[in-house]
Amino acid sequence: MASSGRFWLIRLISCLLGIALCFGIQSVAHMLGNTYYERLIILAGLYVTLAVSLNLINGITGQFSIGHAAFYQVGAYAAGFISVHYMTQLHMGGYAWMFLMVVVGGIAAAITGFTVGLPSLRLRGDYLAIVTLGFGEIIRIIVQNSDALGGSYGMKDIPKDYAIWAVWLLAATCIATCRNLLRSAHGLSFLAVREDEVAALAMGVNITRVKVTAFVIGSMFAGAAGALLAMFEGFVSPPMFSMDTSFIILTMVVLGGTGSITGSVIAACFLSYLPEYLRTLQDANHQALMISGASIVAGILSALGSAALLKRMLEHASNLKGRLIATGSSIAVLIVAKLALTPLLTLVKPMAEKQIPAEQLRMVIFALTLIVIMLIRPSGILGRSEFSLDWLKRVFMPNRRMATEL
């Protein structure tokens, strides 16, 4: 192959670029000079890995898995357990140990993914979903009842060895794997399984192998992320991997657009930061901002109402102008409805009297964001589209004709 050399050169350059980006993120984090932001950046990186790896199973292969936190947990506990018990014996430490643990966590989770994936193959859709959820719960309960793993209290004193670049390098590796998979012939068979299993089978796709591969790769990355979590926190406990965690990861995938890796990355960053941003809901004096119950209920109702309205109007809007009008008018409706409903609800005495500190609204706003985005863009923020160089070129150089598109 004549282009082989060039192929590898491009690969090498993109690898180097990816690594440079990871170190760039780390430098930015250090420039902020605040461990709180570093923490957010690390957690965002872990969530990106989780969301992209779940997207491989859910979005790309179309297997409805909602127990991703289980693999995360397996990786975290495997790395934690080995670090606690064998690190000093093996006379290792630092980055080498971190790398080893990421591999260990990944392998442990991949084995779990294989065991979950293989028997679940006979199941489809919602049945598979509930089985993955069930495996998650079973693993959580086993850990909770195992004294060697610290039981419900959790495993503490895990030696802390982590680096921001490593977290993001894992995320980049995960993204690269999924992206390259999608561009390859093998990836097409993944997509075929998603689109129509029967047709894929008829076309000679080995469905079993595709599904198991998706499960194994997806869970491997989740496990590797878990290992990094364990080494970052120095402590892991069962509530960190509860059903909610699985739902949050799933939400990231769907919110970003099922099947869109770019979407998962954006949604993971957005959703991991949103609850933290909502912590800053305070008045000018940093005191709890008190909001009346009537105002909150009015806000929720008018947000839902105007989202539903916007959805309906967007369905009929054919061009950009129509969409802008729809958006503008539903925002107007939102404001008017909020202003009109608040005094109306104030007539209900308990609602008017109830004063609620804004910080308690954190999770409410989170839930509301979820519903509203799903109402307005059911296919997720990005749908199935991806960020790519071609896309950039199209945006910035609209005159140039693109030769081919994949």
Binding site: C15, C22, H30, S152, I164, T173, S237, A288, E359
Partner: protein, 434 residues
């Protein structure tokens, strides 16, 4: 090339490059200041205080006060399953700060209490703590639950910020570092108190246990009770488990009944203890019921109904106590919030915040380092829940415990145990064994 070969190749290439660069230049790789953590190589340094356990000294520099206010943080479960306790804890903290500010604050500076929500989850508690620390708080008050407190303690340890836990009774918690304190007793005290009371005062010999496997608090308390009760000569005939959130316990209770116990020790929270008591009576298990401070709530009567009446539990204090400071506290609380604190976390949250402010007043310079020293130096701090002495005790104050009997719609203080009474000879108390 097969799929697997192709991708493993690429993954390995990316990862190996990363490792090469990472390992080759750890300085530029950003190990500083928080890239790779330092725990692995750090040996435990000992405190000069010989009586206390040797606790690792926090390496962090801490925060310094700036501006016209003194920032204090509180992490509490404002959302989630621990909300009943979290709400009371926040109210207690707010009451304390309001009172100090009304008296002119500290050194003419007002206190600013910032609340961080842990959403009843360890990792979110840690994020909340990190946020508060980056906001510049001098110290953190909280949490109610041990599992969340250990996470907060981890962050605070690295940064050198003092933490005063409110209701976290897990024994090994304060071993984390010299900046972790609490205003409550530990499970290593609470369990033996109830075991002694059950064996010596109630004359129980065969006790069955119900443990909430989901709550580290419950498993820890059960362990310490089991140990002491067996030591005294009693027998634990059976232990059954449940998880908080479950609503039916008839299966476990049927098993327990077959073992003929004369007492039932329930180490969980009142949310499940009430229904267990009801269902135990329904199952014909008419035995004396015992428990820990997780029972403490004004809702215990209604969640347990008549079934829980006659039960005993170990508490930090009681709203009904006749001590003047308690009466006064209840009056002030009711004036501000309209009703009595629903759980003991109200008083403990108040005590923890007050202790923090008291130490801040005593601290020579208004920064975290001096604050840690001032808290560690606390002697006979007059808390609502009892005197708190941290000097020479590590992070765990030897406090009194009050056993209360659940009466008909009221709590009757039954017997108070002083620390020494129970812990005498018990391996130098809980502060020693980590």
């Amino acid at each position: 090339m097969t799929l697997i070969q192709r991708f493993t190749g690429q993954i390995a290439a990316v990862a190996a490059l990363g490792i090469l660069i990472g390992c080759g230049s750890p300085e530029t790789g950003g190990a500083k200041p928080n890239g790779t953590a330092t725990n692995t190589s750090k040996g435990p340094e000992t405190t000069p205080d010989a009586t206390a356990a040797a606790r690792p000294v926090s390496p962090g520099a801490g925060n310094k006060a700036g501006g016209n206010t003194l920032l204090i943080g509180m992490v509490a479960s404002v959302n989630g399953e621990l909300k009943p306790w979290g709400d009371d804890c926040v109210k207690g903290g707010q009451l304390a700060v309001e009172e100090v500010n009304a008296k002119g604050g500290i050194d003419g500076k007002k206190i600013d209490l910032r609340i961080g929500d842990s959403n009843s989850k360890p990792e979110q508690g840690k994020s909340a703590a990190e946020k508060l620390i980056s906001d510049g708080v001098l110290g953190i008050v909280g949490e109610v639950a041990s599992g969340i407190t250990i996470q907060i303690a981890g962050s605070a340890f690295e940064k050198g910020i003092p933490v005063i836990a409110v209701g976290a009774t897990r024994t090994d918690l304060t071993a984390k570092g010299n900046n972790i304190f609490r205003v409550c007793y530990t499970d290593a005290f609470q369990g033996p108190v109830m075991a002694t009371f059950a064996y010596k005062d109630l004359g129980l010999r065969k006790v069955a246990m119900m443990t909430d496997k989901k709550q580290p608090y419950s498993t820890g308390l059960s362990d310490s009770f089991r140990k002491k009760f067996a030591e005294l000569g009693g027998e634990i005939v059976d232990e059954q488990f449940y998880e908080s959130g479950q609503t039916t316990f008839s299966g476990q209770l049927t098993n327990l009944k077959a073992k003929n116990p004369d007492g039932l020790f329930m180490s969980g929270y009142f949310t499940e203890v009430g229904p267990i008591a009801r269902q135990a009576k329904d199952a014909g298990l008419n035995v004396k019921m015992l428990g820990g401070d997780g029972w403490d709530s004004s809702d215990l009567f209604t969640s347990g109904g008549e079934a829980i009446q006659g039960g005993y539990y170990c508490n930090h204090y009681s709203n009904k106590e006749q001590r003047p400071e308690v009466k006064d506290f209840i009056t002030r609380w009711t004036a501000k919030f309209g009703k009595e604190p629903a759980t003991a976390m109200g008083a403990l949250g108040y005590d923890a915040t007050m202790l923090m402010l008291d130490a801040l007043k005593r601290a020579k310079t208004k920064d975290s380092k001096a604050l840690i020293d001032a808290i560690a130096d606390t002697t006979d701090f007059p808390g609502i829940s009892g005197k708190v002495t941290l000097k020479g005790n590590g992070g765990d104050p030897p406090k009194r415990a009050l056993i209360v009997q659940v009466g008909k719609g009221e709590l009757i203080p039954a017997k108070a145990y002083e620390w020494d009474e129970v812990m005498k000879g018990a391996a130098a108390g809980s502060t020693g064994q980590k």
